[in-house]
Homo-oligomer: 140 residues x 4
Amino acid sequence: MQIEIDPLSPVPLYQQLRDRVVEGIAGGTLRPGDQLAPVRQLAARFGINVATVSKGYDLLRAEGLVRSNRSAGSVVARGPRSATAEEAAWSSADRDAWAGRLATVLAEGVAQGEQDETIVAAAKEILSGFAAQRRNGGER
Amino acid sequence: MQIEIDPLSPVPLYQQLRDRVVEGIAGGTLRPGDQLAPVRQLAARFGINVATVSKGYDLLRAEGLVRSNRSAGSVVARGPRSATAEEAAWSSADRDAWAGRLATVLAEGVAQGEQDETIVAAAKEILSGFAAQRRNGGER
Amino acid sequence: MQIEIDPLSPVPLYQQLRDRVVEGIAGGTLRPGDQLAPVRQLAARFGINVATVSKGYDLLRAEGLVRSNRSAGSVVARGPRSATAEEAAWSSADRDAWAGRLATVLAEGVAQGEQDETIVAAAKEILSGFAAQRRNGGER
Amino acid sequence: MQIEIDPLSPVPLYQQLRDRVVEGIAGGTLRPGDQLAPVRQLAARFGINVATVSKGYDLLRAEGLVRSNRSAGSVVARGPRSATAEEAAWSSADRDAWAGRLATVLAEGVAQGEQDETIVAAAKEILSGFAAQRRNGGER
DNA sequence: GTGGTCTAGACCACA
DNA sequence: GTGGTCTAGACCACC
């Protein structure tokens, strides 16, 4: 998968990395079982420090999206459909926090004068973009 | 309007302040032309520094949501429907950046296993919450 | 509070720090609202790196036991009795993981020939030790 | 006995193996005198390296739970009740270390808001689970 | 070769 | 002055 990070962004590098991986999982570029690039390799590619990449992976691990194995590298642990009833993917607190973040982003659109329908349409478009990617085997 | 900020949140105070004002505008608690509380008063109410409040207002000004006059203090410049006529609300770059933030939040939900329909429903619920507030005259 | 860490232990330093703080919270030495020592100060006291202390605080933050504030330091967020029904302190997955760790430790005692009653007694003693500390105002 | 190990767990494989054997002894699946599976066989079954299995057995030997004879392979040396008569089961240092680990786990429960009674109940339930297994001849 | 841990710095953001 | 971010290294544990 081809991901980019922006060293000039105010968003921390490890956070950007985490965001890109999350998007990759949502879009099916990264599927459960897929290997993530080794921390060193990723660090070299982006010209950033290993520890920074590692911290990004830490986040993903904490979210349950990735699992790491000292010898076999890191693999994607979860995907768009792997959440079942038995293994509650999200704690309710985490889901609430997510809903709060969503509300803040949506409020921004509303405040800027976007119509509700336009916003919903934008969200649907993004989601169907992810879905289309998944159907195409994760190709961009 | 009654807003709350959490000094222990990882989100910077000025950012929280900005977020709450944005939500106030989206929900109609704050309408175009309304005065924002003077920085000193707000700083006193929250027990935080004037500079922090000021920085939050700066953000809102940069986003075009608030306008400051020497004499009249800060007033809300834009509202849920004012974009259509008054002025070009967003630069396309700003809109794109917003869409990117939205995509990141949505991707998180997808990656955690939420169904697309569930996510759209959550978004609609949030938006209709704002709309209901506006109809009620911004009362919570 | 007086805590010690052992640089020769196989347990990572940041993990030891986290364990000691958890025990401090259980024993009431650290109560909700109490300030934790600044990372730099703790690092200097133990002769370890700031990043290491920081990682320990990261863990505690992830567990919801501590909250940090850039300017005002880190404070204890939760205590032996602050878990109420509304704010589900633990996700069920976290609780299950904890029960698993408990089972492993108990199995060890059983395998080494300790009687069940002896083990339960040991556990009760530890717990009442914590409770006694809390009653004594967290004094050791 | 049927044991499972998870290659993606943060817990080292040899440690998992050791934990499972300890639990097997506690639950009576493995009784004093029983043979442990040969390292090669176990390694093949799990698809892991012989050295890894060997390291797990080393731990058990160091804890006095397993004894290795040149000819007879590794046999379980101790069981839930063999401590009383046969030999001094634990050095007091080992027992203290174990109590420390137990205290850390219990502290975590307390800090997360579990009631002492709930914790004791959980421990009793785990212990009686082991006892029940032993009565059933170690069958799961 | 993989990730995990740790050091000794530095600079920045926040309040 | 607080924590957050990041670097450039090093060594270790695991497999």
